[in-house]
Symmetry: C2
Amino acid sequence: MNRWKLSYDKFDPEEESLREALCTLGNGYFGTRGASPETSASKVHYPGTYIAGVYNTLPTEVSGKTIYNEDFVNCPNWLLFNYRIDDGPWFNRLKVKILSWKMVLNMRKGMLSRRLRWQDQEGRITLVENHRIVSMAHPHCGAMTFSITPENYSGTITIRSGIDGSVINAGVERYKQLNSKHLEPVSLGEFGEDGIFLQKITNQSKIQITEAMRTLIFKGDEKIKTKLNVISHGRQKIVQEFSLKVKKGQKHTVEKLVSIYTSRDHGVADDCAMAKDAVSLIENFDSLYQPHKAKWKALWKRFDIELKGDDFVQQVLRLHAFHLLQTASTYNEDIDAGMPARGLHGEAYRGHIFWDEIYVFPFFNLHAPEITRALLMYRYRRLGAAKEYAQQNGYCGAMYPWQSASTGSETTQIIHLNPMSGKWGDDYSCLQRHVSIAIAYNVWTYYYTSNDRGFLDRYGAEMMLEIAQFWSSAAKLNKKTGRYEIAKVMGPDEYHEHTPGQTGGGLNNNAYTNVMVCWVLEKALFIVDNLMIEEERNALLLKIGVREGDLSLWRDIITKMTVIMDKNDIIHQFEGYMDLKELDWDEYKRKYENISRMDRILKAEGDTPDHYKLAKQADVLMLFYVLNYKELSEIFKRLGYPFSKSIMKKNFEYYYCRTSHGSTLSMVVHAYVAELLGYKDLSKDFLVAALESDIYDTQGGTTQEGIHSGVMGGTLDLFLRTFAGLEISEDRICLNPNFPKEWKSIKFSVRYKNIWFSVSLTHKNLTVLAQPVRTASLQKTTEILIEINKEAHKILPGKTHTVAL
Amino acid sequence: MNRWKLSYDKFDPEEESLREALCTLGNGYFGTRGASPETSASKVHYPGTYIAGVYNTLPTEVSGKTIYNEDFVNCPNWLLFNYRIDDGPWFNRLKVKILSWKMVLNMRKGMLSRRLRWQDQEGRITLVENHRIVSMAHPHCGAMTFSITPENYSGTITIRSGIDGSVINAGVERYKQLNSKHLEPVSLGEFGEDGIFLQKITNQSKIQITEAMRTLIFKGDEKIKTKLNVISHGRQKIVQEFSLKVKKGQKHTVEKLVSIYTSRDHGVADDCAMAKDAVSLIENFDSLYQPHKAKWKALWKRFDIELKGDDFVQQVLRLHAFHLLQTASTYNEDIDAGMPARGLHGEAYRGHIFWDEIYVFPFFNLHAPEITRALLMYRYRRLGAAKEYAQQNGYCGAMYPWQSASTGSETTQIIHLNPMSGKWGDDYSCLQRHVSIAIAYNVWTYYYTSNDRGFLDRYGAEMMLEIAQFWSSAAKLNKKTGRYEIAKVMGPDEYHEHTPGQTGGGLNNNAYTNVMVCWVLEKALFIVDNLMIEEERNALLLKIGVREGDLSLWRDIITKMTVIMDKNDIIHQFEGYMDLKELDWDEYKRKYENISRMDRILKAEGDTPDHYKLAKQADVLMLFYVLNYKELSEIFKRLGYPFSKSIMKKNFEYYYCRTSHGSTLSMVVHAYVAELLGYKDLSKDFLVAALESDIYDTQGGTTQEGIHSGVMGGTLDLFLRTFAGLEISEDRICLNPNFPKEWKSIKFSVRYKNIWFSVSLTHKNLTVLAQPVRTASLQKTTEILIEINKEAHKILPGKTHTVAL
């Protein structure tokens, strides 16, 4: 197994859409699934190119209601390519004899390659080789090469290559009842000697998208000229058709260069002119490939985690870092897009932004904090919508929506389809108000890790204060108990939508929410009290409308929030949780192959998970994942509740056996918390399960609709935190490595407050090299404090420091 | 004279358009000229609201050629407001008796106020008071109040208030032959209880613009309800008409709240919905005004220069800082706009971006470097266009256009109108390739001052290397001299378009260009050789296509560039300069009142400045302004030319008396260089002349078409550099104060490499307080090095340090 490559050598149409998602190439601006070019010649219009931030909304009548689905747009297919030998049929991979087939995603180089030998009914054997990139150096460009060698014949090969705009959103089975035609034609045509273009517009959001393409043809290494017949199919599709006289054993290569621009890109007055200009400046595939490869090399220098001793873990860690960088990159600094929960890899969740960022950003913070900053700007720009959403729901401040797309309005479905029952049911998931907690947490941890004070001053503080204001308006004093309570919300565990017997959605006093609200308010107060200069503070408080009385209320809430704990020290997931029934887990495991989605099972049986002590994913335990022991102790102490490691253990043991892990994020949390509390084997098992989830599609059919950004980011962060024992505190990084015996060594680099730390670990030694980012700073770094296994070390910049373990 | 206010108390229609420009309000997102609301009821459609970065291109046939003018769009007029008493005529300021009139721009609060008492033919006296803001806290919002008190009558006052979309670009007389209708209607209507909106679209660039407005009415302090009749005039204009029963001595106030959004704004899927939502959230004028005022207070805390002892200089320094912040602010971080040479204040130069940034950025760098960064991103996004422009002209790398608007293509006119002769002539000004030098210089000084390494790595280095590549392709080795030469360019002095007898435009070996190219190449080499890690360096060089051979060429050029100097140590402005005739200055001074624009005078006489030793503005001397003595000495030394203070003096004396200062920028440069070389009185005279240029419109009619950003930024920077003696070096700031005896004291703050230095100067003492920007840095600042009058001082952060002078 080559740990830099993801290889497949068996052609299996059943596996195709999973492979397509896993072999997506992208650069943060756009992503294209790893489909064979020839799929586009079939009737399946599902090649999958997604441009970050491009959405469109369509209405559909479902079950008597009008649903407005705001979708990530599946853009024109630039892969369209097919060929035929002499007068034979157009190549169709399902109708020929495949002699050999190999597909390789080279993650180091960011290239997808395929090698295919096939035989037609007349015994003609053809070797086809493809390479494809989505440029990491030129965000608007991609390219592919297509080489054909007739092994045992000579003749004429006719090729059709072009752009297909007749795509619809058809990647997710359960969305098929909904309208899915998002694109209307604008223009198409030829340009220059070898170019064609297709311009479309999203029919509601009115975003113009142009793809411009050029075709270069080589006989061996020599560039040749061939007449390109341009054929357009209505206004939806444009192709170049041309014929090559081929001789036995002789290779011809077609290079297809593409450029993609939209009318929303900066500095673009005419996306069509821009796309044509940009593709015209590309010399050939190699001239695009070389800087792309070099850029990936530079990215891996920062991002790679090298693990010796476990090829699977090694390979999947790289796959996860690779996919995160496809979905979000420094190019996000100049576009307006969030981190979609399913990447730029498919249409699942419609490309919406949820709370998954909380799992992804820690990894970006430690390697390229500018990416987190760019993605947080997506949130800042939608602060107005969040304020309006709060107001509509009777709150103050800013309440971010559970699902968000272009405008920052709530885009969570109000009814959803249960694929097991085929029925549409109410959807209360928008009551997961904790997304606003995640955003405040992300702002703070970005600032804390990167040292970017400018962001905090101009954007972050405003977001945190608006969110604090929202939560303080949601918390109501219960005069009987003298404590504040938060009603009608859902925690991260989506199985519990309300307590039995209640109408409407929402739970009271969700422990995760209530504790985290204390954290948010305390951080907001810290900013107001300690960080801002007086004039800026006054301007901000006046802008938001926070008065001294509000600040007093915040100070009161953090000492009097309700957390329901019983005499056994179990923190109740929410009020009323202990009145629920226990589930007969063994019974359900017997009855169903996979019980991770117990919600669908129970609902299809006419029951509901609301009746049971049962969680889809970590909820109380999530607290132990996002906050450290010191933070939790302080919050509980201030509230007058007991807290200790032993309480954490009791809660872990209680909830661990009542969780079905219906979300892959649950495994990440459990892996971290298990290690923290001393359940080491469990920890590695959960890590491996989390790593398996996308590469093997262990949830059965979800990865093909798009990878899971949350679990990808979560596993990378988890790996560093759990096994390398990386922890950050205000003035240092701490390393307490602790990894399985069977692993030999770990190497990685992290950037903390503008210093790069390169760490090498074996079971015997820890080596660390600290290098401040070279700046024109007035202050020269003399020595740097770090902590290794609880012991402080002062190290010199640029000098290797080794400690025996 | 109140130095925070610009006051006018004489109503003078002749002065109106100058006052309008000087009293513009803006926030970096949009600016609105200081017109009286009632102008909009007259036939003059020139209220002047400009949104940063909103351009539109129209073709016109002029003099047998089709000219495409890309214009800054004069957007719908949200000030539209008029009233009448009973059945009397609508108020017309030219037809009534003005009893008293006062207009005050309060720069501290960012508010424009007017107080007007007038009497109609029937003797009725009315007091009208206005206040207006363009919010610095909410970039998409503005508001005005309009109070009416009948002093000696009772009756009915009917008011019309609305938005007028029938504006055209009509602010610049000499553009009037050109097409000027940029806006087409999209929609208009009412919303909510008190709202109306108007949506337009630019007819070529297809940018939708919506202005949404609400009207609140108060009798005294009490909000009242009145029926608002909505009247639309075609699809261009929408007004609310309503009547108030007024009693003698009783005040009614109308508040007009407005919100502006375009389809290019981030997070906006529907600019119309967004504008309506935003304005609906505003409670009233005061709720918008309070945070606005607080934000201006926070801005002044950073930006103000306090000068005691010279009210005029004090006032105009504030006016200049005020206007720069209106045109560019931190809001530019989230929009795509450059720094227009004439601000957001008028249509002159069509809102284009030239090289004026080089005068403006130093001031932003020292106070809010994030603004420079945002404006440099405008350049980075147009690197592709600059590369294409270079290629079209046979060069490599990136050649930025002399004038630039939305796409980064060259937007310099190819013919232009001489207002003195009324004739159209060829325009070679696009040959001012030195704009690319300014951009490289701005990138480097931004990095150097702010310490923003991330910007350099991701954007700045690429720009600098592309520009270096361009200049190295423009420099040709002259085998005879063994030196490199640059042909066919123009220097900053626009009077010289070519040497007499030559066809086409451009000069050879312009000294400013050639010397600065050496500076650019050296800095580019420094980045490649010293700053970047290997992987990043390789990726960047491959992306740009710079090879080792190119780097060798750069190294060669910086030792062998041509600078033409004669035996008297005069640096020739360009090759052939010394063959030109001397101008009879006295003769022209006798003949014309103002000879600053000698080009127009000579051309109207059938002659041309090309024949004379005559400069519009500093060209050779510009070198002494942008580079310090050490840098210049090193460049000249490496090239094998002599250089010394005495050579600088000789050149100053030579060029000083041959310059007409046809550009206000020339005064800034001369003021700085004069002080540097010991001509102190001259220095203050030039400062005062530069300060007078906009406030008194000393160029005669140009300020009313838009202020001059370059001179505004230049005077502020000049003031600190010359009179406070502020200089920055790699590891410290230096202060060598030297200001006129008649000035009492100077106070200012600057931010250098993340430390704020607050400086207080008298003739006796210098006090400085250094405060590092509070971050979560790993490194604690212990002591800070500064230099005062050539002596090094170590000071403690947060502790005042005083030195007797």
